[in-house]
Symmetry: C2
Subunit: 114 residues, 2 copies
């Protein structure tokens, strides 16, 4: 089904598909940092950083607070939960099948809608 949840998964997985953005999320998991601090480890222009931040923000994984001319970025882990749900569902589902517990299919409501 192509619904909002699917679109959200697309945004989240797309955001996670870039190593720079994954590294940014790592830093954000440690503490809230400014644009300048966040961009420091990356050998790219401010424009490129701005773009990555937009992708992260658009996926919901990052939130921003502006104080004067400083933009503070922080992780918003909620969307990660959606991604985790999706991934672990298929992972566990398949594992059960490998274990020969095909009844799992009927027992568990098929939560994931796509």
């Amino acid at each position: 089904m192509v619904n909002n949840e699917s679109q959200q998964l697309t945004l989240i997985f797309s955001a996670l598909s870039d190593p720079t953005r994954r590294a940014m999320l790592k830093r954000l998991s440690e503490k809230e940092v400014s644009f300048a601090e966040l961009s420091e480890p990356f050998a790219m222009t401010k424009s490129a950083i701005t773009k990555h931040l937009k992708v992260l923000e658009n996926s919901g994984l990052m939130r921003r607070t502006i104080d004067g001319r400083t933009h503070y970025c922080r992780l918003n882990p909620a969307p990660l939960e959606k991604a985790a749900e999706w991934v672990t569902f298929y992972q566990k589902f398949w594992q059960k099948k490998l274990d020969g517990l095909d009844a799992f299919l009927n027992e568990s409501t098929h939560k994931s809608s796509e």
Copy 2:
């Protein structure tokens, strides 16, 4: 760090970032299917299906067995585990911080390398 594991995460998350491929994985989680069966629900050409399958195969999420002219596709859930690890690490990490258990940082070895 831009290592093999990072590249693998990039391939996995990229593969998962497309709704058609997620739908394909859903079908594959239920049973092994042929190319024709797998492509049946999708309104696109065989060429497009071929491309999607290549992406899935390249990420390691799908395996193929050829029998005559029929290609049988099946889910390989192992890479999903890597993705799940990555996602749940940051998710749980952050949750602990929200719970005020900052000691989590020092207690747990920081498994994820990027």
